[in-house]
Amino acid sequence: MVLDSQLRRYSLAAISCGLALAVSWPFDSFASIYFLAVLVSSLHGGKGPGLLSVALSAVAYNYFWLPPQIHLSERFSYFRFAFFLGTTLAIVGLIEAKRHAEEARRRIALRVQKSESYLSEAEGLGHAGSWACTPHLAYTYFSAEMYPILGFPAGDAPPSAGDIGKRFAPEEWLRVRETFEAARREKIAWDGEFAIILPNGSGRAVRMVGHPVLGASGEVAEFVGTAIDVTEQRHARTALQQAFDEIKKSEDQLRTIIETIPGLVWCAAPEGEFNYLNRRMLEYTGTTLDVLGQLGWINFLYADDRAPVLAAWSHAVATGRTYEIQCRLRRSDGIYQWFHVLGQAARDNAGAITRWYGLLIDIDDRKNIEEALYGSEARLSRATQTATVGEFAASIAHEINQPLAAVVANGHACLRWLSAQPPGLAKAHEAAERIVRDGKEAGEVVRRIRALFKRAALEKIELDMNEVIGEVLRLLSGEAARRHVAVETDLAKNLASVTGDRVQLQQVIFNLLLNGIEAMDPVLDRPRKLFIRSNQHSPEAVLVEIRDCGVGLKDPEKVFEAFFTTKEDGMGMGLAICRSIIDAHHGRLWASPGQDAGAIFSFTLPAQLTTAP
């Protein structure tokens, strides 16, 4: 027992020395009693009290006993005193050394005990136990956790190999033994997972890891290792694997869908760089993602489409808006086909774009049909032109017959003036001049009609819309008069010229005017007036407006649909064709209701910006 308090330890030294003095005084005693005091002080008090007791003993030794028996004045006495001092110091030193050694051992033992308890705790938590066994499967050490893992009562000596073997199915036990055997032969570590069956019938999975400890002879002396119950991990792993399989399956399905849908699919990084193309897209283009990246995807587009596509894509990437455009993409055999391209940004919760997903839909057939339709529409347009010719043959005949009648009558008059007595030469001359004039006019009418129905290819030239309007008005003036329609014009001066096909634009105006005239057929209670107006709508556009005061429109958009008609004998193609013509001229044609009655048909055409001086 070591006294804790410093004071107590030193007091002990003083008391033991005092007792030694008290005992040695009456008995004129010997020095050995002081040895005992030093021994006690040193043993129980430590080094300090030991040295104190040495000092006290030395004093007591000198003053209380030496005179008359031994004192320092004698030579011999010095020797004895030195011997005494040396011996007591040696005692203190020895005891101190022993105490140190004991202290160290105690601390180590404490640490070992602590770490053993930690280990045990850790083993318990991790369902892991440690073991040692001979090369012949005789277990020499089982940690506490080993027992519950293998289903043995705690605290017993390690079970025999036979008992342990009962925990395994026979073939599994064979596998354990083979593993051991192989490790022993090869002197290698091993690591295996084995299935065991506990006495209560439940199956567990145990992972056993072992490594050989070689003896002096170089043979395996023993194996040490661990056993871990991995049943939970295995369950978790199985569940994880199942979940993983499920994900993989649905991912495979998704991939199959993506790979097989009749579209070309792509993904791109938020900055617009492509990072995935589906198989169809790769097959179509006959390339790989890497090659596409190296060559630049834009070079796979039809040359004319590159600039608009690049602009649209850059805009989409910059703004995050949906990307949509039609363009021609080169197939592996070099043929370009039309595609409708769609791109949509995927965003994270914060709204930042994480990826672009895109789809290319093959619209080549549709485009081809559209073009074929456009062709048939052009033919249809000619057909309706012909129908219009039929409808208004009479009107046109009137236009020609009028000057012709004048020519004939003038001819007769001329002859009569010449044959009169005396001849009316001046009158004959006038009549002859009128013949020339009216003959030319008849020729002009014929020329205009031929121009109107000429089956010429589109010929875009610079045109003055006022001139075009004037030509059509001349053709229609008879018709307007016949139907009692007064035509009023308001044509802007200095109108910018437009680029277009004269015949087609004449046809549009002809149709619109004729529609206006016909729309006023039922009108009896007010003057039938038709206004045609041209003006500079904006610096970029010329506007032509045709306003009637007829029956008006129920649905201003529907009239432009093909085969929509309010006329008994109409084909319903006129306005549809007008619109297609204006569209082809990059203009716009629309209808709106008139202020009081009737309808207004208006169209704009792009103006020639560089007007002639």
Partner: protein, 212 residues
């Protein structure tokens, strides 16, 4: 060339046609008055001469057929209305049938020969001359008829029907002598030289004979 100096009215909205036809008609010595529309024509103070109207079927304001109807109305009212020769740039059957039924002289499609036109115009003028003659005779008779007293107008139908004065007197409640006096007055006022002439006059005036 014609003593009564006939006139041709020409209504056509096309100045070229007006000029040519005007020249042609003048060359055969006819007076010509030209108009661009029906309204101009109607406003025109017409000379008292046999006339003909050369009318375009398609006119900007009132159509040719409408003008024809208006003129027919005037004629019924006893006014002068010249016969019509229609000309047209594109004649359709329906319009021509309507025009002819309504009494048009001719329906010519442009361009037409001078003979067709001149013959039609001459025929129309001749017709108008006769019509004018008849109209002026009738007007003369009516002027005479207006001179008769109411009692004389009562007696006239009996005279022209050939009743004896005695019988007429019995029917009208007057003496035979009184009826004889009326009869003399009627003959004098109407300017009839014989009973037969008076009968023709009464026929023209459309006076119905009384039933016995």
């Amino acid at each position: 060339m014609n003593p009564d100096n006939p006139i041709v009215f020409l209504v056509d909205d096309d100045h070229r046609v007006r000029e040519a036809l005007s020249s042609l008609l003048s060359s055969v010595g006819l007076r010509v008055a030209v108009f661009g529309s029906a309204a101009e024509f109607l406003e025109y103070e017409k000379p008292d001469a046999p006339a003909c109207l050369v009318l375009d079927l398609q006119l900007p304001d009132t159509s040719g057929l409408e003008l024809q109807q208006q003129l027919a109305g005037l004629r019924l009212a006893g006014e002068d209305a010249p016969p019509i020769v229609f000309i047209t740039g594109h004649g359709d059957v329906a319009s021509s049938v309507r025009a002819m039924k309504a009494g048009a002289i001719e329906f010519l499609s442009k361009p037409f020969g001078e003979q067709e036109l001149l013959q039609a115009v001459k025929a129309a003028i001749a017709l108008d001359r006769v019509a004018r003659q008849k109209r002026s005779e009738l007007a003369e008779l009516q002027r005479h008829y207006k001179l008769l007293t109411p009692r004389e107008r009562e007696v006239l139908p009996f005279v022209v029907a050939g009743f004896a004065n005695k019988q007429t007197g019995a029917d009208l409640g007057a003496s035979e002598i009184t009826i004889g006096v009326h009869r003399g007055q009627i003959m004098r006022k109407m300017g009839a030289k014989s009973l037969a002439e008076l009968v023709r006059m009464a026929d023209k005036l459309g006076i119905a004979t009384p039933r016995s």
